[in-house]
C-alpha cells in the first residue's frame, strides 16, 4: 500500500471525526505518514460532518481526499454525496442501520454492517462508530486491527479509560462482522 485515502462521513454527533482520528493514529503506529482533516466550520452546525484520512508511505501532498480508496458511510446523505467520488474498485462500507438505500456503483467492494443494532447488542448505542471502524479495517486491511486497538488505548483520555473495554469489543465486533 503506497497511499490509502479514506472518507468518513455521517451526521454531526455520530463521531465521524473521532473515528478518523483513531484510524490515522493507527496508521502512525505503523510508521506511515498520515494526515487527517475534518470538514470544519459552520457546516458542522447540526448537519453533516466528514473527515478525510490518508495513510501513505510518502508524505501526503494534499490532506484532501478527492478520490478515496475507501468510504466509511454513516448515513444516507453521505452515501449520495461521496459514493461518486470513490476510485474505481474502491471499498465502501455502509451503516445499514441508517442507510436503507442501495449504492449505485457496481465496481465498488461493498460491505454493509447494521452497526446501530450491533451496538445495541453491546449495550451502548454510541459505539456503533467503532464497530464500523473495526469492520472497515478488516475489510480494507489499511491498518492492523491490533493497531486500531492500541490507538484507542492511547487516545482515550485517562478519565474515560473505563470505557476502553467496551470500545475494544466494539472494534472486535466490527471485525467479526466481515
Amino acid at each position: 500500500m503506497k497511499k490509502f485515502g479514506t472518507t468518513i462521513a455521517g451526521f454531526g454527533g455520530q463521531g465521524v471525526l473521532f473515528v478518523g482520528q483513531v484510524l490515522a493514529h493507527a496508521g502512525m503506529l505503523e510508521g506511515n505518514y498520515v494526515s487527517w482533516i475534518p470538514s470544519y466550520g459552520v457546516e458542522m452546525r447540526g448537519g453533516t460532518a466528514h473527515c478525510f484520512v490518508t495513510i501513505a508511505e510518502k508524505e501526503v501532498s494534499s490532506p484532501l481526499v478527492e478520490h478515496p480508496e475507501g468510504l466509511l458511510i454513516f448515513n444516507k446523505p453521505s452515501l449520495e454525496k461521496f459514493e461518486p467520488k470513490a476510485i474505481k474498485d474502491g471499498f465502501l462500507l455502509l451503516n445499514s442501520s441508517l442507510v436503507d438505500q442501495e449504492p449505485r456503483r457496481s465496481d465498488l467492494k461493498i460491505y454493509k454492517v447494521p452497526a446501530n443494532e450491533m451496538a445495541a447488542e453491546l449495550g451502548d448505542s454510541r459505539v456503533f462508530n467503532l464497530i464500523m471502524l473495526g469492520a472497515f479495517v478488516k475489510a480494507t486491511g489499511v491498518v492492523q486491527v491490533e493497531n486500531v486497538k492500541k490507538a484507542l488505548e492511547e487516545i482515550i483520555p485517562e478519565k474515560r479509560k473505563k470505557l476502553l473495554p467496551l470500545n475494544l469489543s466494539a472494534v472486535d465486533k466490527g471485525v467479526e462482522a466481515i
Binding site: 482520528q21 505518514y33 498520515v34 487527517w36 475534518p38 470544519y40 508524505e59 494534499s62
Partner: protein, 353 residues
Amino acid sequence: MSRVLMKGNDAIGAGAIAANCRYYYGYPITPQNEIGEYMSSEMPKAGGVFIQAESEVAAINMVYGTSATGARVMTSSSGPGISLKMEGISYIAAAELPCVIVNIMRGGPGLGNIAPSQSDYFQATKGGGHGDYRLIVLAPSSVQEIYDFTRQAFYLADKYRIPAIILGDGFLGQMMEVVELADSAKDDEYARIPEKPWAITGCKGREKNIVNTLLIEPDTLEKHNWKLKDKYQQIAENEKRADLYRVDDAEILVAAFGISARISKEAVDMARDEGIKVGLIRPITLWPFPDHVFKNLDSVKGILTVEMNTGQMIEDVRLSVEGKIPVEFYGRTGGNLPDSTAIFEEIKRMGGM
C-alpha cells in the same frame, strides 16, 4: 523526542510553550480557534497567562505591553482579525519589540469564508500597516514545520527584536499529522530567552527604560528608519530560507509555499515520472524572500508560481529573476486547493509537451 498525532493549531500552541512563551492573547476566529482553546487549557498548567481579548486590536496591544516587559508572547488570528492588528503590528515593529503573530489564512477579502487560502501574502510580506517596516514571515507546509517554525520564530524575534509571523492556512491549522516533539525543549537554543536590558520592568536599580514610537523630529525618525532598514538588510543576509526539490537539472521550476508546495511537489513527481526535468522551489521565509535561489538558473526555461490567491508571491519571484526567466502563474482561490493534476498539466504545457 515523542511522536504524536497533532492538529496544526495545537502544534502552534505546543511549539510556543516549548519556546518558553508564557503569554497568549487572542480572539477567536475560524480556522484557528484551537490555538486559543489549547492555550486556555495549557497556559495555566505551564504557569502562563491566557487572555481571551475583547478584540484583535486589544490582543495585539496586550502583546505590545507584555513584549515590552521582555517576556515571550504570542497572538494568533486569521484574515479579518489580522487586518485589525495592522496598527498594532506597525507599532511593535517600530518599537522593535519581539513577538510571534500567527495568521492561519482563510478566504478573503471581507468576511470571505473559513476555507484555506494564501491571499494574505502581500499583507504579511510587504507590510499591511503604515510606515516602512518588515516582519519575518515563516511559511510552514506541514504540522511538523508548524511546530518547529513556531519555536524558531520566537528565537528569531528575540534575536532581531522584530515581530515574526507564522503564515499558515486553514488546512495546516485543521489537519492532523505526526509531529516529533522536542521534549527537552526547555533547554534548547529556541527556548533560551536572551537578556533584555531594554525591558520595562520598573526602574529598580537602573535608569528608566522607555518604549516609544513617537520620534517627532524628522531627523530622529529618519535615523530610526534607516537603522531599521539596516537591520532588515542584515536579516535578509542571514535568514533567507528555501527548500529545493529536484532542481539540480531542472528546466522548469515550480515556486510555491506552504500547502501549495506540498501539492506542487506531487505534481513535480508526476512530471519527473514522465521524464520532464522539473523541480520545486519552496520559499520558507517569505520575508526575507529567498531571491538567491532564483539566481543563476541558467538551464531553467520557465517558472510556474503556484499560489492559493490571484497572484501575489509571483511578484517576488519576478523581482528575483529580473526578467531573465518567464514566470507564469497557476492559482486557486476562495478556499479551493490547487490540483496536482492541473499543475502537472501546466508543467507539461511549459515543457512543450
